[in-house]
């Protein structure tokens, strides 16, 4: 409907209540007044008709939060597993995998906690699974147990030698490579290939349990390297230097990388 039609329907001049008022308002102002009143009424009606969920932001948020909270849970949480699987939890609690949640390997198990008979979480026995964490990767933290899946007992399933709930620590010194594969690989093609780890490092037994807190020793004096590399040394082959003057205040390994001396920094 056009505005013109609207105004034509207004009562004609003379019968309007305005004419009887002591102050006569101009017509234009009166028309404006009608529009304003109509608008206000329309807004008021709309507000009254709108459901609360469209007006109240607090309510909207509360509903949204409830909707998010109602999402299905898939992972039950490690404490749930302990209720039934006491043996496994006890085996695991002192081993290296003590901090690994059950569901890290066995997958989401909320369904299983609700229906333990029919729904069984998988136990990964495949050789491809363990390397997800334990395959050698340069970016992994130094000292994290890593193997080369291609050369490490090919075709054999990991669980034939390792108990996943209680993986055993390697024996020192022969098996330093279980965790320090990167060093072993570098060293094996270096002039130091034939030196045992224990030649330069002594490793406290506790290092195998808390590898980061208890660390193996490193040579603490230049004289140690000088046994082979000092100019008075009788050994044949190793390059010789004068320990008294060479390298000033630094220990040898602060400049040279002993697992790949020199070659590494070229």
């Amino acid at each position: 409907m056009q505005l013109k039609d609207l105004f034509s329907k207004l009562p004609s001049k003379g019968t309007r209540p305005m004419d009887k008022m002591p102050i006569k308002l101009p017509d234009a102002l009166l028309r404006l007044g009608v529009v304003v009143v109509a608008l206000v009424a329309a807004i008021a009606i709309a507000l009254a008709l709108l459901p609360a969920s469209l007006k109240d932001r607090k309510l909207q948020r509360a509903v949204a939060i409830e909707r998010v909270q109602a999402t299905t849970i898939m992972y039950a949480g490690a404490s749930q597993c302990a209720d039934c699987h006491e043996t496994e939890v006890n085996t695991k609690k002192d081993g290296y995998h003590r901090n690994v949640s059950c569901e890290t390997c066995h997958g989401p198990a909320k369904d299983h906690t609700e229906n333990p008979v029919d729904i069984k979480p998988p136990a990964p026995r495949d050789r491809r699974f363990c390397p997800t964490c334990h395959a050698y990767n340069e970016s992994r933290p130094k000292g994290f147990p890593q193997i080369n899946p291609i050369t490490h007992n090919p075709m054999k399933a990991c669980i034939t030698c390792h108990k996943p709930h209680d993986p055993k620590p390697p024996t020192v010194p022969g098996e330093c490579t279980a965790c320090h594969a990167g060093i072993e690989r570098t060293k094996s093609v270096s002039p130091h290939a034939l030196l045992e780890c224990a030649t330069c490092h002594t490793t406290p037994e506790q290092h195998k349990v808390t590898p980061r807190n208890i660390r193996p020793s490193k040579p603490s004096a230049r004289e140690f390297c000088a046994q082979c590399h000092g100019k008075e040394s009788k050994t044949e082959g190793p390059p010789k230097i004068d320990v008294a003057t060479h390298g000033e205040k630094y220990l040898c390994w602060q400049c040279h990388y002993p697992h790949m001396p020199e070659v590494h920094h070229e």
């Binding site: 998010v68 849970i73 898939m74 992972y75 997800t132 990767n137």
Partner: protein
């Protein structure tokens, strides 16, 4: 009205206007301060120890399972980046897959100066840019500091995806709404840990209430050198990184 009278009246008028306004302001400031500090509500946060991450992608996988995130390798609520800094100071950032071994070697071992994995997720900023830009108020911060998306209100305009400095949001291909990490809000409100924290085999991720006096989160924040991503943006992230390399953006 002479000048003196005018000045007197204008001064008293301004005073009369200013005093109630000032009182109102002070009250409001006190109210907001109460919200920041004295509240007994939790204020959730997470620490990520970069030195511990082995890049096994269990977190990414668990997140997708728990939150029904599309399996395609470009929709993530949390993801892990592999940083490689070469001897000539080039920085290469690779994204790793959920179930594949991350050992894709583009750079040979000899060229690598240092390398590490960085897990990433929504930083649950205290001052979230995504909330500021949302034209319909679909993204909001809960009282415990978690930024959520109301998927019935979101119109899928992607403005928040653009605004997030951490790239933590994506447009859900089926629902056509913005989607992001919720700190597993459905889990934490029932006392469980977020799925990524639950499955992390190396305790890289630690979750908790930042206001707690004694908790694994508080201890980690107390014992480690902590950094946040892009601190210059003043978003005040609540995902705290321990042992973060300067090259991480």
């Amino acid at each position: 009205m002479n000048r003196r009278l005018f000045l007197q009246r204008i001064t008293s008028f301004l005073l009369a206007l200013g005093v109630p306004a000032g009182l109102l302001g002070a009250k409001r400031a006190a109210a907001s301060a109460k919200h920041e500090k004295g509240s007994d509500k939790p204020w959730y946060g997470m620490t990520v120890d970069v030195d511990k991450c082995i890049g096994c992608a269990r977190c990414m996988d668990a997140c997708k399972t728990e939150n029904d995130v599309p399996r395609e390798p470009f929709y993530f609520r949390t993801w892990v980046e592999r940083y490689i800094i070469t001897r000539d100071n080039e920085v290469e950032i690779q994204s790793i897959g959920t179930l594949t071994n991350p050992a894709s070697e583009a750079v040979t071992e000899k060229e690598i100066l240092r390398s590490f994995f960085v897990p990433k997720l929504c930083n649950q900023c205290a001052h979230p840019p995504c909330v500021q830009v949302c034209p319909v108020g679909a993204t909001f911060q809960t009282e415990d500091g978690v930024v959520l998306v109301d998927d019935e209100r979101c119109i899928g305009c992607r403005y928040c995806i653009q605004a997030c400095p951490y790239g933590a949001r994506y447009l859900h291909p089926e629902k056509n709404v913005a989607d992001k990490c919720t700190f597993c809000y459905h889990r934490i409100s029932k006392g469980l840990l977020p799925a990524c924290v639950e499955v992390c085999p190396t305790q890289t991720r630690v979750f908790g209430d930042t206001r707690s006096q004694a908790s694994p989160l508080t201890r980690t924040r107390h014992m480690s050198k902590i950094h946040v991503l892009k601190p210059h943006l003043n978003t005040e992230p609540k995902v705290y990184y321990a042992n973060l390399d300067g090259e991480v953006k």
